[in-house]
């Protein structure tokens, strides 16, 4: 379908800005593996401090890119499947708020005034513009949800007796999760951290701030993941040459995410003081609930791929695997999706380790953690985002893909890199190697009293993986910017997706066609899980903390 020029420009802007920033994010990803392997024993390199770069890496890759992409892809999905464009005014206001917020936070980070990492735990204090910028960006990303809900309502009124398109069901659920979970971090940032960083409030309740952050922080990972799930359910089957095994399972999956994504955040705080063991155990069990939709998805995706492989002529128990279009440059999205899925098998299982109450004590805050989440956020999430960004740019700008063969191997190279990288980090983590630490200055520095030679092999392995990932990213940037800036050869302003049919297209079940009962259930479970956590924090916490700059043990602004 053809879309308006203004909408095309909004989507392109919301892809171009974060992917340009991603160059900085990826560069520091590589640099961290270099510092950590002890190749350089410095606190900074090329004018960028380790922890400043780590902040940029986290904020750009995990917050800015993901949020911009989810909004841009959401606009595209809603416009395509409901055949109606979002309203111009709110869409543009949302874009400008997100850009303004990103600009403020980026200034603070690049100026070295916000070396607080993407979790910004107080009482480490950043420049007020860092907090304000993040809040403005988040508020900007709320606006489309209300616009889309309006469009969905009028679509339902004119399509009585039809199922809400699965992609729209997933997208709207994702933004309901996002809106609900970001309420807490918006409160933390605007009412606790911002006045405190300006000196208007003397202290901040550290345990409360962390609890509010993780109310948001874990649901955030599903906000990253669900756009990829939308693509897996709606596009992957068609790309593979088959049909989606079951439409209903897709709907159930997204509904379970809606109710379980948020009331699990305390599983990031198993090692924290001031939250009772029972509260932690409850949320650990709820976390197993949120693993269920991913088990369902794993089955559905394998069943879908097997169906497609057999339809393509594959025979025997495993013969269908060879009949999938792994290296078809005209179906490059398949390559991006399949690599993400393979990584996610391992990302999912290591995630269950982290979510397991006392077992978490073995790995909490060690290098195991980044080992795990690079197989999720740097697995299915980023690969789906990057592949889809190339697809959208090529369609909307009417450009052919630049270097199509390179584009097809990028995800495989990336996947190999991530496997090696994550294996190194997890191996290190099981030997106690901490995350978020400039190891090159002390533990991996033979001249230091703290030299810890046990971590030499695993950090070197991580370094190898990091190099391969970086190489894949460079290839991706060549493809993306090459496509973006090459000569237009096709009709522009087009929006097409490889939409799949369902093999088992079940009849309408009203429960899975209406979001309201699920939202009510979501709110109930959140209240049951989080009221005890908040009460614990107030019951046990002592005095609030004054602000600290990262460079000084003496409190001060």
């Amino acid at each position: 379908m053809k879309i308006s020029r203004w909408l095309r420009n909004v989507i392109l802007t919301e892809l171009f800005i974060p992917i340009t920033l991603l160059i900085v994010g990826i560069y520091h990803g590589l640099m961290q593996t270099v510092y950590r392997a002890g190749l350089i024993h410095q606190s900074s390199f090329a004018g960028l401090d380790y922890y400043q770069g780590l902040t940029l890496h986290g904020v750009i890759n995990a917050l800015v890119l993901t949020t911009f992409f989810a909004v841009a892809f959401g606009h595209a999905t809603v416009a395509y499947f409901l055949k109606v464009e979002p309203r111009k005014q709110p869409t543009k206001i949302s874009m400008w708020l997100m850009i303004a917020g990103t600009a403020m936070a980026s200034w603070a980070m690049f100026a070295g005034k916000a070396d607080v990492l993407y979790t910004f735990y107080p009482p480490l204090k950043a420049h007020p513009l860092f907090y304000l910028g993040l809040a403005v960006m988040i508020v900007g990303s709320w606006i489309p949800l209300f616009d889309w809900i309006g469009l969905l309502k009028s679509w339902r009124a004119s399509h009585v007796g039809e199922k809400v398109p699965l992609a729209v069901w997933g997208t709207v659920i994702n933004f309901i999760i996002w809106f609900t979970c970001t309420l807490s971090v918006a409160y933390e940032v605007l009412f606790m951290l911002l006045p405190w960083s300006l000196g208007w409030k003397a202290t901040v309740n550290v345990a409360l701030a962390r609890t509010l952050f993780w109310f948001f922080g874990h649901a955030l990972v599903y906000f990253w993941l669900l756009p990829a799930y939308v693509m897996y359910y709606s596009f992957l089957p068609k790309l593979a040459g088959g049909k989606l095994y079951s439409d209903l399972v897709g709907r159930i999956t997204f509904a379970i995410f809606l109710i379980f994504s948020i009331p699990v955040g305390v599983h990031h705080q198993f090692s924290d003081p001031s939250i009772e063991p029972n509260t932690k155990l409850t949320q650990s069990l709820l976390t197993f609930g949120v693993a269920l939709p991913s088990f369902l998805t794993a089955f559905t995706m394998f069943a879908t791929l097997e169906y497609a492989g057999r339809k393509n002529g594959g025979k025997g128990l495993f013969g269908w695997i060879g009949r999938l279009p792994f290296f078809d440059s005209s179906r490059y999205l398949f390559s991006y999706f399949i690599c993400g899925l393979i990584l996610f098998i391992f990302g999912g299982f290591t995630g269950i380790v982290n979510a397991s109450y006392e077992l978490n004590a073995v790995v909490h805050n060690t290098a195991f953690l980044p080992g795990h989440f690079h197989m999720t956020v740097a697995g299915p999430v980023i690969l789906a985002m990057l592949g889809m960004s190339v697809h959208l740019v090529s369609q909307l700008k009417g450009k052919k893909i630049f270097a199509p063969a390179l584009n097809t191997i990028v995800p495989y190279l990336w996947m190999i890199g991530v496997f090696i990288f994550s294996a190194g980090l997890m191996w290190g983590g099981l030997q106690g190697e901490p995350r978020r630490t400039n190891l090159g200055l002390s533990y991996l520095n033979p001249k230091s009293d703290l030299f810890h030679p046990q971590w030499v092999p695993d950090t070197l392995l991580t370094l190898c993986g990091g190099f391969i990932m970086f190489l894949a990213a460079v290839f991706f940037f060549i493809v993306f910017f090459g496509t973006f800036f090459r000569k237009q050869t096709q009709q522009a302003d087009q929006l097409e997706f490889p939409v799949s049919e369902a093999l088992h297209d079940e009849k309408i079940i009203p429960l899975f066609n209406d979001l309201r009962p699920w939202v009510i259930l979501m709110i109930l479970i959140i209240l049951i899980a989080y009221i005890p956590a908040i009460l614990d924090v107030f019951r046990f916490a002592g005095p609030g903390a004054p602000p600290h700059l990262p460079g000084s043990p003496v409190p001060g602004l």
């Binding site: 198993f270 090692s271 924290d272 063991p277 400039n438």
Partner: protein, 158 residues
């Protein structure tokens, strides 16, 4: 097989069942370890200013209480000597920002937060030097935070 009035595919049903069984096994193992190995998450302790005074209290020959204070960028006390077979209660708090507390080779893993106290108990049955790392970013000197627990060396006996 019917589900909500819809015919459920038999393979789908089996997958669902397998997922449920796998998760039940995970959850059972998790709870079993809590009960059988007495390995648990940190306990909550009400804050009191006395926890800001770092010290090691000897209760008897094999029972110790360590009041650990994390600060930018070190632990106090930074060297603890105990005999083999000691049981140690670690009380942890922070003087400034959030710090981590991880005893290498033990499953003691806690966060140190200003105005909050947390507690874990560990038994040291093997002689050796146990390093304590800070695993939460706490400012420019984060990578220099380390403390040691020295278990069972002769100088302990003095």
């Amino acid at each position: 097989m019917q589900f909500l009035g819809v015919e459920l595919d038999k393979y789908e049903f089996r997958a669902l069942l397998t997922a449920m069984v796998v998760m039940t096994i995970f959850i059972f193992s998790m709870l079993y370890v809590v009960g059988a190995r007495r390995s648990d998450v940190p306990q909550c302790v009400n804050f009191d200013k006395s926890y800001l005074t770092p010290r090691v209290d000897k209760i008897d020959d094999s029972t110790y209480e360590v009041y650990m204070v994390a600060q930018m960028w070190g632990f106090q006390p930074d060297e603890i000597r105990i005999p083999v077979g000691s049981t140690v209660d670690f009380y942890l708090t922070s003087k400034d920002v959030v710090h981590g507390f991880y005893i290498d080779g033990k499953d003691v893993n806690m966060m140190a937060e200003y105005g909050n106290v947390t507690k874990r108990t560990a038994k040291f049955n093997t002689a050796g030097v146990y390093k304590i790392f800070c695993h939460e970013y706490c400012g420019v000197g984060h990578q220099n935070m380390e403390a040691r627990i020295i278990v069972g060396f002769p100088s302990n006996q003095q």
